[in-house]
């Protein structure tokens, strides 16, 4: 696994922050937006500092999404010891939506006047941000980019798993990367779904989300390859599901149809029963609409009063949009392996109409199966299930 977010650079930093119940959301420091009042979850490094960590010279054409992606991909590849044992037959599937918008919004006016470095025009799209990570860690011979907004990384996990399931690849690095941009900060702001205080997922008083940024990747490997190489895997990707809410471009249906279907599909794929799920890492953005709709869907899947421990970790990282499915997969696996349910910060009062409250105090327990939800604009809903292998 590899991860970078407001919680720090590297998987270990994420585990520490979650156990210490320390949020990375705070005052805007790096994003040059006029909306300084909005709390955000920023990676605490400038682009130049990320380049330094990567050991490459800074170049204005590098986009932040590409840099963060390269950082987390490299960590994942190193942690799995891939270099030197795969003959370069590894796929990289990455999710992003804003791509190089951080640079586009800074340079657009100059571009139109025709008076600036045109090299950037070739690096602003989604695909090029993924290929940047390939350049930094050249072990990949297939790479593609998924763009389903906030479920992009979860769908990258699904595509990578299908590459393995169909025998095309033994190893796939999957996840997503997304930097903060004025573009989507203002987009979410225009939809009036940004909380001006700290977000409060699954709280009755929740008033919106805080945006975050980062990248998170997993290394998936086939059972045969794991056995052949004598590798002890972190966990098993037990099942996955993708469904479309087909309701509205930005709002979720009242009965959480897409969320319900994606969780049901993941359960069916895994062969597990609802009662086998020990913890749900919810999408839980903190918007009034999402958390109620997701909550209703959870009750439909598990039964009212029988919903397993649920928490949203977006109160730690902010909503890292396209990267969230990757970062939250890392968090789900950390929870699974370390036996704890991350505490849902800032919770005070149960949502009226729901039968469950999120995990609100320290919860150490053995987990066998964890379900992680990622839902995106357009009702692009996906769920993945991770299970212990011992």
């Amino acid at each position: 696994m590899g991860a970078v977010s407001a919680l720090g650079n590297g998987v270990d930093e994420h585990l520490r922050a979650l156990l210490e119940q320390r949020s990375g959301i705070g005052k805007m420091k790096y994003l040059p937006s006029v909306h300084r009042e909005l709390p955000v979850g920023e990676v605490q490094m400038t682009d130049g500092e990320i380049c330094a960590v990567l050991g490459i010279p800074y170049d204005v054409r590098y986009t932040r999404t590409a840099l963060m992606g390269a950082l987390a991909v490299r960590e994942a590849v190193r942690n799995a010891g891939l270099e030197g044992r795969t003959d370069g037959h590894v796929a990289l599937i990455s999710g992003t939506t804003v791509g190089g918008m951080d640079k586009s919004e800074a340079l657009y006016e100059e571009f139109l006047k025709g008076g600036c470095d045109t090299g950037f025009i070739k690096t602003q799209d989604c695909g090029t941000t993924t290929e940047f990570a390939v350049g930094c860690t050249p072990v990949f011979d297939l790479t593609t980019t998924i763009s389903t907004a906030c479920s992009s990384a979860a769908n990258a996990i699904i595509f990578g798993a299908n590459l393995i399931r169909t025998g095309r690849y033994d190893v796939a690095v999957v996840g997503g990367s997304e930097c903060l941009t004025k573009f989507h900060l203002n987009g979410f702001n225009s939809l009036l779904i940004l909380d001006h205080g700290q977000c409060r997922p699954f709280d009755d008083s929740r008033a919106g989300l805080n945006l975050g940024e980062g990248a998170g990747y997993l290394v998936l490997e086939s059972e045969e390859s794991v056995k052949a190489h004598g590798i002890k895997p972190l966990c098993e990707l037990k099942g996955y599901g993708n469904a479309c809410d087909a309701f509205h471009q930005t709002a979720s249906s009242a009965d959480g149809r897409g969320a319900y279907l994606s969780m049901c599909k993941a359960l069916a794929d895994s062969g597990l029963s609802p009662e086998d799920i020990d913890y749900v890492n919810a999408h839980g953005t903190g918007t009034p609409n999402n958390d109620l709709s997701e909550g209703v869907a959870l009750e439909r899947v598990f039964g009212a009063g029988k919903v397993p421990p649920v928490s949203s970790t977006k109160c730690y990282t902010g909503h890292t949009t396209s990267a969230s499915g990757g970062i939250e997969a890392v968090i789900s696996i950390l929870a699974l392996r370390n036996g704890f349910c991350p505490v849902n910060l800032n919770f005070r009062k149960r949502i009226e109409g729901l039968s469950f409250s999120p995990v609100s105090e320290t919860c150490r327990k053995e987990l066998r199966n964890v379900l992680s939800n990622s839902f995106g604009f357009g009702g692009n809903d996906s769920s993945v299930i991770f299970s212990r292998t011992d």
Binding site: T144, T148, G187
Partner: protein, 336 residues
């Protein structure tokens, strides 16, 4: 298990939603070739049409047409490839944000700016709750979507899929690409929808045998990858009757097709091209698949598409090859 291409529909530089381009293609006469719009009133109610940009209208029209031809109402998967997504809305929101200093922004443009707007709006329009995904990776965006659909069918996760390729070329982007010397070829737009499934229909175009993607930065050569791909499918180079290439006339990259094909076919092979008709775009390879599948159905190779090599004979197996700047490759294998 077999996979069939059961229908296809296109809106492009050619007559929209029509197969007449096959017999009577019109070549791109300039560097910027926008698509010929269809009559969208047949597909979208006027109130809904006002909220949709041209790209979305094209996507809905080709999707509905392809589904109708295939007799499918609720596809198990809707998967789109798009290099740039809804770039017109993205530009409008960006311009408005810059001009208004991050204030007074209309959410509608933002809502409809994401790449997945297309696939998800098609799903919402049709009421499809099935699998839904979107790929945005340069010149292999469409083939990534196609590969996803093939894997979904191979694993039994769906029985059919609507697979689309959708890109628009705005005046701003045409200008930016010109500044960057991006493509030395006519710039086109793309909207092609295919319905594929594991059951054949009386109107099936062809079999879809397999898809592969290859990023050629490492040690493996393109030819090795292609040979491995053919071998996996039990097909020898001699069995390939025709290669549909993505040659676009850009001298910087067209040679990479020659190197590959001369290496794989020492005695030559029949070759077709299509980008001189449809223009170049990130998702243009979808037109290559469209051409190849129509050649298999019709049993003829129209003269305007023939591009050197041997004279084509009877076509039973066709390989579609695209090289995005000699770096990202795609191979699609189709059969009669």
């Amino acid at each position: 298990m077999s996979i069939f291409i059961n229908s296809a529909a296109q809106i492009s530089t050619q007559a929209p939603l029509d197969d007449s381009f096959f017999a009577h293609p019109v070549e791109c006469a300039q560097m910027y070739c926008r698509s010929v719009e269809a009559d969208y009133k047949r597909f979208v109610p006027p109130a809904a049409a006002r909220r949709m940009g041209p790209l979305l209208k094209r996507a809905v029209a080709t999707s509905v047409t392809a589904l109708g031809k295939a007799g499918v109402t609720d596809p198990g998967a809707i998967i789109c490839g798009t290099g740039l997504g809804c770039i017109e809305n993205t530009e409008k929101f960006l311009t408005s944000m810059i001009e208004n200093g991050e204030t007074c922004l209309q959410p509608t443009l933002f809502i409809n700016s994401t790449h997945n707007t297309i696939a998800s709006q098609i799903a919402t329009f049709l009421g499809c709750n099935g699998y839904n995904s979107t790929y945005a990776h340069l010149g292999i965006s469409f083939e990534s979507a196609l590969m996803d659909a093939v894997m979904m069918l191979e694993t039994g996760q769906t029985a059919d899929a609507l697979v689309g390729a959708h890109d628009e070329m705005t005046p701003t982007y045409f200008k930016l690409f010109g500044m960057a010397d991006y493509w030395r070829a006519p710039h086109g737009e793309c909207s092609v929808s295919f319905v594929i499934g594991n059951a054949r229909t009386p109107d099936s175009l062809c079999r879809l045998l397999d898809v592969d993607l290859f990023h050629s930065s490492g040690s493996e050569q393109v030819i090795g990858r292609l040979e491995r791909f053919l071998g996996k499918n039990g097909i020898t180079a001699q069995e390939i009757d025709l290669v549909v290439t993505g040659c676009n006339g850009d001298g910087r990259y067209d040679g990479s097709y020659d190197s590959l094909l001369d290496g794989l076919f020492p005695d030559g092979v029949a070759r077709c091209r299509y980008k001189h008709v449809f223009g170049e775009s990130f998702t243009a390879p979808a037109y290559g698949l469209l051409l190849g599948s129509m050649i298999l159905r019709e049993g003829t190779v129209p003269e305007p598409f023939i591009h050197g090599g041997k004279r084509p004979g009877e076509c039973r197996t066709i390989l579609c090859v695209n090289s995005f700047k000699s770096k990202d490759w795609s191979f699609i294998l189709i059969g009669k």
